[in-house]
């Protein structure tokens, strides 16, 4: 008994639909007989059988689409299958077992198998003089050099972990964080995501347990902000450009200075306003980590420095080079989900802080300006605050202040 299978009729045929049987069980067939019609992407094609015998059983109904190789019918053959017509095995990627005694076919002499010459292989790196490209000059990436230059780090004192011992940005960042570049890539991440998750869980649970949150929401027209950013960034190189996130942080910092009830710590039910404004910047890491390290004195930093500081925090956060002081220092936290996020974000306060400001994504809305409706860029800012320390009235004023600060992006 052999199986008649859906044939492959072309390199791009993956399946076919049987639309007609031209034989039925009991019919005799011989090699070359057309037994069915298959509908393919190119049209209906008659398929032939390569066996001789009697149709025993039809296995597939009409109008079913089946992949190439699916058994369609069983054939009782008249004699033993020829070696050449043996039941087809699954298409072997490796050569099959050799059949009995390959005949003595005169083998055509081939060109002598010379050892393969690499030839003009463009991918092969040319044998350059070993060591650094120029004697005495450290191999360091442009990003590494820039970071080193900004922080006055001596490249020659750093061991590189990049290809061929080159110094990478992470290597320089590690030197700045006071941690030497660990050889082990896993440890180089410096993060134990499980421990972090546990810590977050504990903190958030405690926050919800102990801090009576109240929530306020405020929509702010940030069109002026965006326009100012576009103008400012137009003349800057990409790695020098300002993001709206920096403006958000500065606005919160400036507002926090004027509304001290949102800037400080509540410990044992007692509120201590903080002298300085250190804004915690909530940063998520791939893999589930989350932390909000401090941007110190965010109310006093010029915007450029604030931006650089933010970038640096993100960079170090992702490579696990945050200092513990940076985690405990924030006096208020700002959280934003960026462009991927939602329109409004209600955060949970990080104890012992007393407030967290959330920024949704900037959307274009119809808005009334000077009595006329037009499209404006609008962002929803939320405040989650500790009702033991402040109330809605103050919260509203605080949020309004943030909104006002956002209208003056070019304030030094």
């Amino acid at each position: 008994m052999v199986e008649f299978r859906m044939p492959s009729l072309g390199a791009d045929m993956e399946a076919g639909t049987l639309v007609e049987w031209l034989v039925k069980p009991g019919d005799q067939v011989k090699r070359g007989d057309i037994v069915a019609v298959v509908e393919t992407q190119k049209g209906a094609i008659e398929i032939e059988i390569f066996e001789a015998g009697r149709i025993e059983q039809i296995l597939v109904d009409l109008d079913t689409k089946v992949p190439v190789g699916t058994p369609l019918a069983r054939i009782r053959t008249e004699r033993e299958a020829q070696p050449a017509a043996a039941a087809p095995a699954a298409p072997p990627p490796a050569p099959p077992a050799p059949s009995p005694a390959p005949p003595a076919v005169p083998v055509r002499p081939r060109a002598p198998m010379v050892p393969a010459r690499p030839g003009p292989a463009p991918s092969a790196a040319p044998p350059l003089p070993a060591g650094p490209g120029v004697a005495g000059r450290a191999r360091a990436s442009p990003a590494a050099r820039r970071l080193a230059e900004r922080h006055g780090v001596d490249l020659s004192a750093i061991t590189g972990s990049g290809p061929g011992g080159a110094i990478t940005h992470a290597d320089v960042a590690g030197r700045l964080g006071g941690i030497t570049a660990p050889p082990d890539r896993k440890r180089a991440l410096g993060l134990d995501l499980d421990a972090m998750r546990t810590a977050i869980a504990a903190a958030m649970a405690r926050s919800k347990r102990e801090i009576p949150h109240y929530y306020l929401e405020h929509q702010v027209d940030v069109t002026a902000c965006e326009q100012w950013l576009a103008r400012t960034n137009a003349t800057r190189a990409p790695d020098n450009r300002l993001l709206i996130g920096a403006l958000a942080i500065r606005s919160v910092a400036l507002a926090a200075r004027r509304f001290p009830a949102f800037n400080g710590f509540c410990r044992d039910g007692k509120f201590e306003p903080a002298a300085a404004v250190h804004v915690g910047v909530a940063i998520a890491i791939r893999g589930g980590g989350l932390a909000a390290p401090a941007l110190h004195h965010a109310d006093q930093l010029p915007l450029d420095q604030l931006m650089t500081g933010m970038r640096d925090l993100v960079q170090r956060m992702r490579s696990g080079r945050i200092r513990s002081s940076e985690i405990s220092d924030p006096t208020i936290t700002v959280s934003s989900l960026g462009e991927r996020g939602v329109e409004a974000l209600y955060g949970i306060i990080y104890p012992p802080q007393v407030a967290i400001v959330g920024f949704g994504k900037v959307v274009t809305r119809p808005w009334v300006v000077d009595g006329a409706i037009g499209p404006r860029s609008v962002v929803t800012i939320t405040l989650s605050a500790d009702h033991r320390v402040s109330d809605g009235h103050a919260g509203a004023l605080f949020l309004a202040e943030i909104g006002k600060q956002l209208q003056e992006p070019d304030k030094p």
């Binding site: 299978r5 044939p7 492959s8 009729l9 072309g10 390199a11 791009d12 045929m13 090699r31 070359g32 393919t40 190119k42 049209g43 209906a44 094609i45 398929i47 032939e48 390569f50 190439v68 190789g69 020829q82 070696p83 050449a84 017509a85 087809p88 298409p91 490796a94 050569p95 099959p96 050799p98 059949s99 009995p100 390959p102 005949p103 076919v105 005169p106 055509r108 060109a111 002598p112 010379v114 050892p115 393969a116 010459r117 030839g119 003009p120 292989a121």
Partner: protein, 330 residues
């Protein structure tokens, strides 16, 4: 120099051989179809069913030193020329024991030993190549003939016209063999040529030409003998249009929406094997034993070729970039 015979040997031995060659091709192509449905042969597969009389009539007339350029429908030409069936099938499997190291597949059978210059997947692509081969022989002053096989589809390509013109202009020993099977893939000759009498085009280039019934192996052989002789003696090209028909589709994956079954059946009655065999039987040139022996021999040769191909090996991937350029001897 071999003695020239304008007429084919109508000896029984020769007739049996011609029949056997045609049956051999037909069974081989059939086996290829089967192997293709089982995904042993991949890519494109173009079968010669119905056209056997052309390859069998023309190729044996050529001398070993003559050259052959063919198309992607070239299994028959390669086999008749003397490319081992084992090597041909292994090539179609993609095994490195194939005649082109497995690199070419069905459409690119090459064989240096028999002066077989491929297998070409570009319609019309072989014509300029044949001009070049013949040009080399012309410049060397020998009388080697280059036979260039192509279909009716190639007639539409600019290269057809350029090549005919160059062959005539420069006096090159090219035998142009047009296998007119009335269809260029799915486009019928009538829908593609303003002048469908193809051999008339040769006259525009002052090339001697002839039409022959491509379903009649004796007629094809007779015409081929005359043509090859003329080319070799005169040093001028010759154009032989063989009117034939492919009984199968253009390739395996072809629903044949462009031609109707009645037409196909009509040509099936002119099947060159059936006709020739019938004529031989009625002329008592062939006995049932002969036929049985032919079928048995052919089946055995095919089985051997399949076994060879199945047992063949894959060229190691590391060898991929070899033979892109010539290798210098170590």
């Amino acid at each position: 120099m071999t003695a020239v015979a304008d007429k084919p040997h109508l000896s029984r031995e020769h007739m049996l051989d011609s029949l056997k060659q045609m049956i051999r091709i037909r069974r081989f192509e059939d086996k290829c179809a089967e192997l293709y449905t089982q995904e042993k042969i991949r890519g494109f597969l173009h079968l010669y069913d119905g056209e056997e009389a052309v390859a069998v009539g023309v190729v044996p007339v050529l001398e070993k030193r003559d050259r052959i350029v063919a198309t992607y429908r070239e299994h028959a030409h390669a086999l008749v020329r003397g490319v081992a069936m084992t090597a041909a099938l292994a090539e179609m499997y993609g095994k490195q024991e194939g005649c082109s190291r497995g690199r070419g597949g069905s459409m690119h059978l090459f064989d240096r030993a028999t002066n077989f210059y491929g297998g070409n997947a570009i319609v019309g692509g072989g014509l300029p190549l044949s001009i070049g081969l013949a040009l080399a022989d012309h410049m060397r002053g020998n009388d080697i003939v280059t036979a260039c096989f192509f279909g009716d589809g190639a007639v539409a390509e600019g290269e057809f016209h350029e090549s005919l013109n160059l062959a005539a202009l420069w006096g090159l020993r090219v035998l142009f063999v047009c296998e007119n099977n009335l269809y260029a893939m799915g486009t019928s000759l009538a829908l593609s040529e303003s002048e469908t009498d193809i051999q008339r085009k040769a006259a525009c280039y002052r090339i001697a030409s002839e039409v022959v019934d491509g379903m009649d192996v004796v007629a094809v052989e007779a015409a081929a003998r005359r043509a090859v002789h003329a080319v070799r003696e005169s040093g001028k090209p010759y154009f032989l249009e063989c009117r034939t028909y492919r009984l199968r589709a253009h390739s395996m994956f072809d629903a044949q929406l462009y031609r109707d079954k009645v037409e196909i059946e009509g040509w099936r009655h002119k099947d060159p094997i059936v006709r020739f065999q019938g004529w031989l039987e009625s002329s008592r040139m062939i006995h049932p034993d002969d036929l049985a022996r032919i079928e048995a021999d052919v089946a055995a040769e095919i089985a051997e070729a399949v076994a060879f191909a199945e047992a063949g090996t894959w060229e190691p991937v590391e060898q991929l970039s070899r033979f892109t350029y010539a290798e210098k001897a170590a």
